[in-house]
Symmetry: C2
Subunit: 204 residues, 2 copies
């Protein structure tokens, strides 16, 4: 990670310290791996700062993130028991949830998605967390279950010091435009190309 | 993350289970963020599987990964005290180490790098860990401190079930060719563009 001088001078009239303390919208998108994994890595930094982290998992199965969930919930228990680090909450958006749409079940998924987003909006308004991980949230916008303009407006207007990380493929260009940091993960080589499926410890 | 069928049939004669249990070489490269963060996210999954993880940090300053180090070392303590999860070791390659080369100090850095790589080779031969995170290791090869052909040969010949994740910009095409999973992180938008520097909890 670059540690040098920023390439351009800021024109916003803020001091470096003020800019440093600005809350960020971070997007991890693209077809490659690491989008969610890097978001959960950020949660480690947040924990170490003593921040409150809320993870909102917009995916189908409990299996896929079970490693991260277990480890982050353990760090939350360490915080609860010893005061070290910060609290971490992990929320799954509905039990039957799927990022691969299935005919006949869309209605429930879209309702779950809207309910999840409504809860996140309430928490942003209440400044509940310092870091929000909205995992696979891009799909919810892509499928029209949550209005992207509402998301952008909510993020722009959120009060206080709250970082929001959004992961998933096909991030809308408007979301990227409104992000402070947006990274595209691109696949260069992958075991799927050789007919290999995922394995424990690596994929979940 | 895709959960569907692999796009091509494997021609290696292995069953799905055999292929699933193959140890992987994973490369995170590119100019964007998330290369190291995603690697440390993988360590969360490894911890949850009860695997032994070794992190080898090829960077200048203790500051840059202090959040991840603190959180992963806490998970290691949980493992030590309760048996939950797996052990995690965190090693820094020399105190004066720098990924931005400085005139007059290269000799020590290159010696540190070679010593670090020699230790990793010993551990791979001894099957010490199940997951190795070689953070910012691409620079060590780029600068010629460690021979890339030696790295590739060592990875190809490593015994047992050992996953190796290598992060850093400018990964050599030969390394990518020999990886099972290689992901490029590309910057789409970034606060540096607006003159913003890194901030705690996000950058370290």
């Amino acid at each position: 990670m670059a540690q040098g001088q920023p390439p351009v001078e800021a024109a916003d009239g803020l001091t470096t310290r003020q800019r440093r303390n600005q809350p960020l919208v971070i997007v991890h998108t693209g077809l490659g791996k690491g989008k969610s994994t890097a978001a959960f890595g950020l949660a480690l930094r947040a924990w170490n700062q003593g921040w409150s982290t809320g993870v909102f998992q917009f995916v189908k199965s409990a299996k896929w993130r079970i490693g991260e969930q277990s480890a982050l919930e353990t760090l939350n228990e360490v915080h609860r028991d010893t005061g070290k680090g910060g609290p971490i909450e992990w929320h799954k958006m509905g039990s039957g949830w799927s990022w691969s749409r299935k005919a006949g079940t869309d209605e429930d998924h879209s309702r779950d998605a809207r309910e999840g987003w409504a809860e996140i909006k309430r928490r942003l308004a209440a400044e509940t967390h310092t870091l929000y991980v909205l995992d696979e949230f891009t799909y919810v916008m892509k499928w029209g279950w949550v209005d992207i303009e509402d998301v952008i407006e909510t993020l722009q207007d959120r009060p206080g010091y709250q970082h929001v990380v959004i992961t998933g493929r096909d991030a809308d260009p408007r979301l990227i435009e409104n992000a402070d940091v947006a990274t595209e993960m691109t696949k260069l080589a992958h075991p799927f190309d050789r007919g290999q499926k995922g394995q424990k410890g690596i994929e979940w």
